[in-house]
Symmetry: C2
Amino acid sequence: MVREISAAIEEGALAFLYRQYKTLAWFVVIVAIILGVFLEPRGLVAIAYLVGTFCSAGAGYIGMRVGLKANCRTVAGVMRSLNSGLRIAFNSGTVMGICVVSLGLVGLSVIYFVFQGWGAGIVDIIVGFSAGASSIALFARVGGGIFTKAADVGSDLVGKVEAGIPEDDPRNPAVIADNVGDNVGDIAGMGADLFESYVSAIVATFTVAIAAGIAFDSHLALLPFVIAGTGIICSIIGTFFVRVGEQLKMEALLMALRRGIWVSSILVAIASYLAVRFMNLDIGIFYSILAGLVAGILIGLSIEYYTSYSYKPTRSVSEASQTGTGTLIIRGFSTGMLSTVAPVVFVVIAVLVAYEFAGLYGVAITAVGMLSTLGITLATDAYGPVADNAGGIAEQAHLPAEVREKTDALDAMGNTTAATGKGFAIGSAALTALGLTAAFGGRMEVLGQPLTMSLLDPRVICGILIGCLLVFLFSALTMNAVGRAAMLVVNEVRRQWHEIKGIMTGEAKPDYARCVDITTKAALKEMILPSLMAIVVPVAVGMIPFLGPEALGGLLIGALSCGFLLAVTMANAGGAWDNAKKYIESGHLGGKGSQQHKAAVVGDTVGDPFKDTSGPSLNILIKLMATVSLLCAPMF
Amino acid sequence: MVREISAAIEEGALAFLYRQYKTLAWFVVIVAIILGVFLEPRGLVAIAYLVGTFCSAGAGYIGMRVGLKANCRTVAGVMRSLNSGLRIAFNSGTVMGICVVSLGLVGLSVIYFVFQGWGAGIVDIIVGFSAGASSIALFARVGGGIFTKAADVGSDLVGKVEAGIPEDDPRNPAVIADNVGDNVGDIAGMGADLFESYVSAIVATFTVAIAAGIAFDSHLALLPFVIAGTGIICSIIGTFFVRVGEQLKMEALLMALRRGIWVSSILVAIASYLAVRFMNLDIGIFYSILAGLVAGILIGLSIEYYTSYSYKPTRSVSEASQTGTGTLIIRGFSTGMLSTVAPVVFVVIAVLVAYEFAGLYGVAITAVGMLSTLGITLATDAYGPVADNAGGIAEQAHLPAEVREKTDALDAMGNTTAATGKGFAIGSAALTALGLTAAFGGRMEVLGQPLTMSLLDPRVICGILIGCLLVFLFSALTMNAVGRAAMLVVNEVRRQWHEIKGIMTGEAKPDYARCVDITTKAALKEMILPSLMAIVVPVAVGMIPFLGPEALGGLLIGALSCGFLLAVTMANAGGAWDNAKKYIESGHLGGKGSQQHKAAVVGDTVGDPFKDTSGPSLNILIKLMATVSLLCAPMF
């Protein structure tokens, strides 16, 4: 039974991925031809772009494959013991994390070594690789994000709310689609997202170095590669420290996991110091790397504080349910907004420290520093959806209640560990986009068209306004896309219940595959407009005479600032609503079924597209727009 | 009975205003002393600041006085005929509009003529006046906004939701507080807000002209005063065209009102052309004024499109209620975000046109152009709360149902006319803040410390991030303030129902005054932190060594961009939820009492602090921070 369900999930998830890649193939080919025609060195940028798309797609594919296998193995593990389930979930997360970062570094290094003979052109080629990775990442995040939430919201609306059957009930035709969504959205989407951050951060630093007149094979230009490589090794060493005895409690494993991250971070810090010394570079660069590393950890802690129900903010959201749904929504939203203070302050301090000690190069390398421990943090982040899926499978397979209890416990811990991963994703997106914008400015200077990007120039201000606008527009489009796709799911489920007799009594099986199919089509259709916008608008702004590259610089910074804040707000408001609901479900404030619980369920529904579709897509949006600008710089 | 109720409202509203002004007196005196000590010309800036605070307080007071009188007169008018009620409401709006703008222009002109002998110092003195107006406006908007929504949400939660009694029911002890709130929030707050926009726009243009090396009595420096004065005359002429025959329908009056605005706008356009020609100025300046005027009208139309239930966006929010509260909230929020496209595009086009034809001076004067018809647009905007209050009084006085029906009809029309006013408030805030930032840059240059404010300078980017952060933080703080103050209202109402026997049977009268008193205290306490933040943070950023005036420039632009977008989102999401509810109440999608209606009521509750507290306060926030920076420029 477990095997059967997980086979259905696997089939659906892979079908989505294949169809997504098929849809994207057209886009990729067209872009590659455009790049081949317009950008020097002719053809090579296009090839690097293609390699980038393949690597990014590969990162998503590997992540998903590992995740899918981990789902049912975790169920099997939990049936033996809680610890065994935990181990399996974490180990698969580790495999995925290390694979993704290795693929990024190897891809970049291969491109670098193959094309290093091209002198100055190497920058365009490397940026082409990064653009390939970014564009696939955006489509994957947006498409996967729409899929997962359309299936989730749709199946909940028609199942939990209308028919009153529990979550993950096999009588709900959308239940497999919901599970597929967790894989394609949370796992494949996240893999592609962080792969892209990782690559972009290295590329941004490399480009800033080259733009400053440094040779492409100098130590300064190679340092980001070295730090990234060191980071992978330190991450692997860190994972050894996550091992724990057989008799462990959840808290102990959480501590063990944290210990792994701490060990990796300290090792990276030491290794970075040695690398900077060994390569005869300014010690200020080490401070920059350290600033990024520390900022990443602190942002993760702040997200945990705001979204875990062990602390005041999320509890106050729960308590707001006592005066109704309206106050709960307001409270969650304002909590999300308040939670932006810490991440912004940490990023600002990291940037100021880096700039003080190592100039623009320092600013760019803070992102590399933050992402250096990605191998292990991604492992903790991937754990959440694996545990979530394992629970879904256990429910559908009618496994004993104690198995479901254990998977629920695993799931709850996933919410805590996810905060760390989210912190890295959001913080690194802001820093990477900043580095890429600096690289864009540097590129334009190298290309003989230096930009001032002064705020006294109304074109720059208009650019900033347009950048902020894109963030709002993108969020609105992705949220509406979820709503529309969810309605299709609702209608299909209603149709099946109406036409296929005996589903409710368990005599007939619903047509799960059709729900997956409908959601796939809807998600792929809906992902196109917002994603294309992210690519076309920056290029258009850069080319329109009244705006031009000055306005484009403004656009990037506007999108970065506004997008960073909104991404944090959406992620944390969504997280706070989700956990406020879980807090009530754990027996507080009236518990499950009370008016308070109903209010919290509405809050969670609002939070779903916030935290799993629009919010995380904003991370890629701001990086992709900067990468596209950097790539197209020679055209302006 | 009508007289009695309106006397109670008047008493409460004036008590709030007096206490607010008393609280602010301390603040004003301290700031005046600081300004007197630190800024040249010593003492005079402080005097101008004091005059500015008096004028701003006066504008709020006049607005409220006129509004309070209009409330009960409108009820009396409606008892005669619908038209008579409409006329009274509009006429009092007109009186208020013309008074507010005249006070602004007269105050500025007096300051100008009295102190013109001070040469270059005149700029500091005029900016001091503007800072006085802005700081009172922010406190008034924030304090009034918290009061009105705390009373509204609190009385609804405990009355409509808990006890199941209708809105404006006299058995609800918070009902008078609710009515007081409409006056102190919507009328006094709005009067102070637009007074401040009007003054700041003129001051920004004047300062940009002086910073460009123009003499303070040259035509370029005086043009904003001339345009503003012409605008008042054109507004007055426009009001004559609002007259209609006795037999009119609502649509006819709406058309008549629009005709008034159109006539005023065309007259202002002609007058501006003549003024520019007569003063021998570049014709490009006329185009800039025209761009502002047109942008203001178009933004108003776009807001109407997004928030009126005659059009698709708000209807789609209503329809989302069919799948529950969650989807309705998401849909309203995404509608608000989508609705930012038109305002941003119009502002960007206006800015680019103005800059192309008349440089930074042109950008600054677009705001003056947009606000030139403020006299008549403010009249339409003030109409809404007057109609709303008239309805409240009619309900409490147990007037016949047909009177209440008529006041409801008046109220519904107010939602349409308010869109125009909101468009001007938001659009002009963005343009004014832009002009003020340009003036800040110019001032720093005159002071011998020219800024580059380049986006390649990480301090500027950090400034932008901090500016965006302030917008989010300010919104979160004001939203939470409403929640906290509303809880106090809820508790007080519960206490009265518990302790004063016979309220529910009508045998005893609730203690209305105590509810007003509690809300007043809470609102005054809650307004301090967010408002002070808006004043202290820019000054601190300008003085911190690692940030400094370059970062401050970034802060202003970040706050402007992010604040503009968020203000539009909040205003329109709130408006869409409000009218989606009204659409359902008018008998669609199940009508009053249905599940859909309940979902829409929650949406409206969420929208209340969005559209009446945080959103409008953001307008002042971005202007005030720019004015404070301009004022403190000599300190950096």
